[in-house]
Symmetry: C2
Subunit: 350 residues, 2 copies
Amino acid sequence: MFPFRVMNQEDVKQVLDMKNVISIVEEAYVLKEKKEASLFPMVFHEFERGKADMDIKSGHLTGANIFGLKLVSWFGENPSKNLPAIIGSVLVLDSRTGAPLGLLSGEQITLMRTGAAGGIGAKYLARRESENLLLIGSGHLGPYQILATLMSMENIKNVVVYNATSSEKANAFCESIKDRLLEMLEPYKKDSEYYQMMLSRINIPFNATDNVQRATEEADIIITATPSHKPLIMKEWVKPGTHFSCVGADMEGKQEIDYNLFSVARVFVDDVTQAINVGETEVPFQKGIITKEDIISEIGSVILGNTSGRLTDKDITIYDSTGIALQDLITANYILEKANEKGIGVVASF
Amino acid sequence: MFPFRVMNQEDVKQVLDMKNVISIVEEAYVLKEKKEASLFPMVFHEFERGKADMDIKSGHLTGANIFGLKLVSWFGENPSKNLPAIIGSVLVLDSRTGAPLGLLSGEQITLMRTGAAGGIGAKYLARRESENLLLIGSGHLGPYQILATLMSMENIKNVVVYNATSSEKANAFCESIKDRLLEMLEPYKKDSEYYQMMLSRINIPFNATDNVQRATEEADIIITATPSHKPLIMKEWVKPGTHFSCVGADMEGKQEIDYNLFSVARVFVDDVTQAINVGETEVPFQKGIITKEDIISEIGSVILGNTSGRLTDKDITIYDSTGIALQDLITANYILEKANEKGIGVVASF
């Protein structure tokens, strides 16, 4: 009999905080760079074009003695059935025996590790003195992207939010964002110094915009977190020194920024294979704007200090975060460790 | 909240019987043939060559409104740690919403559906009057192969078992097999007519042999269920009219029978892509003995009556069962239906 833990979204929320997720996602990137972690080929299936699909991302973290997978499905019509469109399951196993360790609801893990990825992109590639953050997209991912970026950057003074299809949604997002961020800071209340620091960091203006060109011209850091299939930001609008964290593109055909930006930017990715197949890098790669060799490195190499991020304050940098199984697995493993200590979730066994 | 059921091996055993598994595995094959089911690409990873590996097989049964995966790992050194070498997990989800339906221990499902596959191969391809069954291999799969074949064939009068590396194991297998079969017939005790019929079918001699050539020369049906990487049966030994169900080969390099048999046999498979990549068909395909076009059809086409199995009593037939996710998923779905009725397993939720 192998006991293992089954954890739903509420269980996961109880033990997960952004500061720790940033640190473990960095660890996953580093393990990958040190060849102590590997990704298996991604499986993708479209049930109905543009209506429902699923993917299975899997991999092995030798360094953490785990392997496993995340299966995520998207059923666009679910909300009309009172179900979430995106449902995910993360299965973690022991890579010394194959025994299952846990099955976890994937939604909160995905939001947190994707937020962390965007923040890590800014941390290692944006100009330290960056003040203006532009968020493209005002969906579920937004608050996580903002929090991780504010945790990673000391000098953000202004956040602008753009939604290409609905300015109402961008407005509503800005009205509620401070409360959301406050909620997400709850775990730090006991650490009064950190909590106070983060309170001051989130105490800045959040405004929606309809003028994405002007917002781009003013931005130091731009995070794109949309399901877009066409560019929302044109190369001509982008000032020197801008950093992009692109987290939305995760399947063929998705695209958030002008592919011509790739011809002038220093491009970093989480995984080269996934980036050129399903990431923001896919379209410029297909169009021949960049080759595999033009990608400066995977982000783990920058974190390790083996590769320089930006060389000058004028560089445009792009971090293409496609989302890799190693982020999910290391986060799930962290959750399971906490949950074992605290006795959270349901224990089942095979 | 999505409730779903977690079921361990004992739970699974409670609701699974071979007669029903044969029937639902046939249904899976038929759904595949009718394009109401599809396989996703298989993921394979070797942790350490010859010592530990894992695969993820996944697919979609439109006809049954489910999709999902089976992850199976093999850690050769597990038994020395008092753990089973093979551990499997089957995750089943609703293909109308993406909601998880169940997570099931995969070991019993694999044994049963693989047994059913071997039996189905005999049922549709062997000569009806076949009397002599030769089982190559005396491992975990053996009893399931024998039971499914005895359920599928009316005239078996004699079973011979061969183990290429240990005649002791083949002897021990033959000594205990009737008890094992009796156990597996328990679910039919209430159906006295069927039970009595099966009792008479298993009331035949089971003998181990060291002379695989003679056993082959006498066999009408040969089932190969080993992890062999080299042929155990040579073409010259095989008499006209013999049927082979090859269930052991499920990864590159595995091979149980002389590849030259493929040049004279009518070859059927469960899935063409898997068969030429990881099945018994792989080696003859690599050697150019047969092409994709030489494969007569997938087995579903024979079950549906769209393709003839054997044409004459002299045909040698081969069924290469590589093991497909659809078998696991349809079996898991059947288990979940029964378990929901009977309240077996642990209910968790996401």
